[in-house]
Symmetry: C2
Subunit: 592 residues, 2 copies
Amino acid sequence: MPEYTAPVRDMQFLLHDVLKVGESDIPGYDELEPDFTAAVLEEAGKLASEVLAPLNPVGDREGCVLENGVVRTPAGFREAYAKLREGGWMGLDCDPEYGGQGMPYILGTAVGEIFVSANMAFNMYQGLTHGAYSTINAHGTEEQKATFLPKMVEGIWSGTMNLTEPHCGTDLGLIRTRAEPQDDGTYRITGTKIFISAGDQDITENVIHLVLARAPGGGPGTKGISLFIVPKFLVNDDGSLGARNAVSVGNLEKKMGIHGNATCVMNYDGATGYLVGDLHKGMRNMFTMMNEARIGVGLQGYAQAEAAYQAAVAYARERLQGRAVTGPKNPDGPADPLIVHPDVRRMLMDQKGFVEGARAFVLWGAQMIDRHMRAGDQDAHGLISLMTPVIKGFLTDKGFESTVLAQQVFGGHGYIEETGMSQFVRDARITQIYEGANGIQALDLVGRKLGLDGGRHVMAFFEMVKDFIKENKDNDALNADFLEPLKAASKDLQAAGMFFMQHGMKNPDTALAGSHDFMHLFGHTCLGLMWARMAKSALAALEAGEGDAAFYQAKLATGRYYMARQLPATALHLRRIESGADPVMALDAEAF
Amino acid sequence: MPEYTAPVRDMQFLLHDVLKVGESDIPGYDELEPDFTAAVLEEAGKLASEVLAPLNPVGDREGCVLENGVVRTPAGFREAYAKLREGGWMGLDCDPEYGGQGMPYILGTAVGEIFVSANMAFNMYQGLTHGAYSTINAHGTEEQKATFLPKMVEGIWSGTMNLTEPHCGTDLGLIRTRAEPQDDGTYRITGTKIFISAGDQDITENVIHLVLARAPGGGPGTKGISLFIVPKFLVNDDGSLGARNAVSVGNLEKKMGIHGNATCVMNYDGATGYLVGDLHKGMRNMFTMMNEARIGVGLQGYAQAEAAYQAAVAYARERLQGRAVTGPKNPDGPADPLIVHPDVRRMLMDQKGFVEGARAFVLWGAQMIDRHMRAGDQDAHGLISLMTPVIKGFLTDKGFESTVLAQQVFGGHGYIEETGMSQFVRDARITQIYEGANGIQALDLVGRKLGLDGGRHVMAFFEMVKDFIKENKDNDALNADFLEPLKAASKDLQAAGMFFMQHGMKNPDTALAGSHDFMHLFGHTCLGLMWARMAKSALAALEAGEGDAAFYQAKLATGRYYMARQLPATALHLRRIESGADPVMALDAEAF
């Protein structure tokens, strides 16, 4: 069974050396003292290593079971959830008004990575609750907030999101679930929703479903959709649980992975629902939850890769096989450990370079969210809106690749379920699919986000890269290894954007045919920027003679690997984009 | 459940338009008339569609079970195997002396693709038997051949290969299984082998294990290893089955995929074994089986991708979601089919371009094998030896990627086991791992095959590319779209080889650190050559006004896609190779 250790040292480096949270003027960041964040992360790490990670293979093996209409989660999930609740982890970054601890989102994100690495399927119960909390907090009435949020923050009630129906996932304009207004101001919700993660369980006392449905009088397509709260149990005026609502689990899906999380078909048979936000504006309101969820899924992508990487490193150190071509490294043993072999190194460095870059990217993104939420910074909001599809799409595509590489390090043993590597791969695979398949992320990026506010946010990104290069141009140690490759990547990204502008009017398929490559080009450039920033901080620390020199040296070596071996992928992505839509669209549908 | 249709039209195009088997002077190729090959492939396709493909999900769901020391295969496997046997498919390309039909290897390969696409786990029982047949046929005594081969060719007995042990897979020099010589000339085999595919089953009457073991008097490492036949049941002089041999199944592995094939721990407890070939030369002899198996695994890589691609195309045509950006294509329906969307096209074209290129590559390789085996052509042998790791490593890496893309087309439905897409991905994953993990293929390529016979074979490959470009330089329709990109790829490949030569002496890690990228660079160049050859044939057919113009047009469009969007990856691989070993090896093992 793979062991897991929270990467606290690395997170501390990001929070304090790179993102310098202590120097930030974002309200609440003054609490993020190094000792404090270290203590929180260590404590989360302990829970992750001792409780959550050992449950991960149990959840995979046992899966969830539907019994008498109620989902039973794998053995130990209930108890582990209670531990999370007792530790106050549920409401870490939630509003103190509803019982939360009011910590910045960036700290919640770092803790989230730790929990997701240890047990992704388990953590989804809490993650979806958090998303539902945010949505009700943003769009609900005061009464709704008072009724639902304290119990959700405490972890006694959970939350879900209900969008997909059998005939529509991506294209929510086709939704058929109906909401009929009642005289008392509530709605009767009727329809079938599928792929509802954490749709039911035996962990919390109530489940608060957020449901998209069509009320009379709305327009066609997504314009006529509204958002409703549909609790599993109705709530009495005194907050106690009342009657069972007319919502039930129709089926449990048998999936490739995340077996520990119940993916439900939910049947709504005239269930009582409460409108959230304005009528017919449900899609807009649901986006609060979807955007948070998309960043959360990007995090899952690299968090799985991190867990798998740790296992691969342990195996590569321990398994003796073959001899180093430069001479035995373990002359007294029957063979050298795998880690001496250059191709094994390549696989480990690919993983390490990706995971550490991705972590920097997501924590940087979390800082943007805090800047928006806590300081009202609209530019930060624009930037994170632009980046959300990149975080989701790029980090999950690469996260899956990275997890597959970790499995590869194990050779045949990686294919045997017992080692746990197959589970990492099977679990990671969903991250490319749910919360908007990655093709949809790419479409959102080039079709919507690039042009948002007149293209202001993508220009701000280019400025940020340019400024960083300019500010550091006299830093010789940074220049050739980091700034030059970053400049080249940024140039490729700009050229791709330019190509879309020049050809998009003539042929609207141009940007769409290049959207996947553009998302990857963008993602690489972001990770290149993150590595350049990390390298700068590592160099500064080395120069100052502070702390653990070996840690900073390793950071630099890993960054150099990323810049030399991964970042040049931008040229290939540009090349594909510049081949235009014709090669992609040339065939008739019948010719496939 | 995914449906499967054998790509007979495409195979006929390759055999007759591209490889022109009818014009070949290879003995036996005169039998490969278009009508004959079409009839064979159609018949194999019928069996595949009607019998094997429907059993594929059954095998995945039920898996194999160990009962009272014997493996029980999934329901229907026994009966399906009987149908294969009755149809004479087992011995299609086997020696008529032992009951085979004596067809060329290229026809067996095309039929093999069809069976593997339909049901990979099932076909492994037959595939391993074929490998064992080839090994005994090449290295066994006349008596051994007479005893074992007829029953194996008939399909009444099966074969396996036993290499891996718990502590060694790649590094076979560490093998501990012992062979003690007996007075009667036999050996007593004692030891434990793991990951033995098709190690036991209830399909055939006997299982002929080929086992690597260490006999007294050999050198250390791989030099002291010999190859033995160890039948499950001893064979009496009259050919009937005798006593149970001291070999048993210790355990069945629980794997990520290929559940329908029994992956066994085999215990040899003083089992009777018969030496095959010379004492202490077992590794060399086993390579007959391994080389055949490696090409077979490369075939599995793209055959799974083909099956998954067919399912993805069907889904993309049928599932209605969203509208084409260029205007509705299905105005009377609620939405357009997925296939109108450029990013879905990109995914389908990636798959189609890969699968068709890979098929050409493998059939071309099969022709080289026939040229060697039937016409004694040593150059052909050198070329296919060089290409074997490329076929195995590149086609399985890309085959897995392609299969994952097919799953992605299904969105959330692809993650649900019911659609069968998860099985394709889980099954395809093993191809990158077994028969020498792909890192070993890359090592074999740069460490051994490149320099083989003074580098003569890689030079022959470059000549072949150069000659093709030169011969066709006046073909304008071919030039810009096919010859120029091929020339660029070939130049990248030569530059990579040059880089290894220049830096390999100084630092032996250089080639190893670039081996994976070199294998992919080589693979892309081979597929580029195949696409250029297919384009040439398609253009010629169009010009001659022969046959189905739409088929040839689609072939050209698919080839153009590959050349424009996939082949340029060679530049990225070269770039990584030229970054040298330093970035890969910079970290201390402790710093991971």
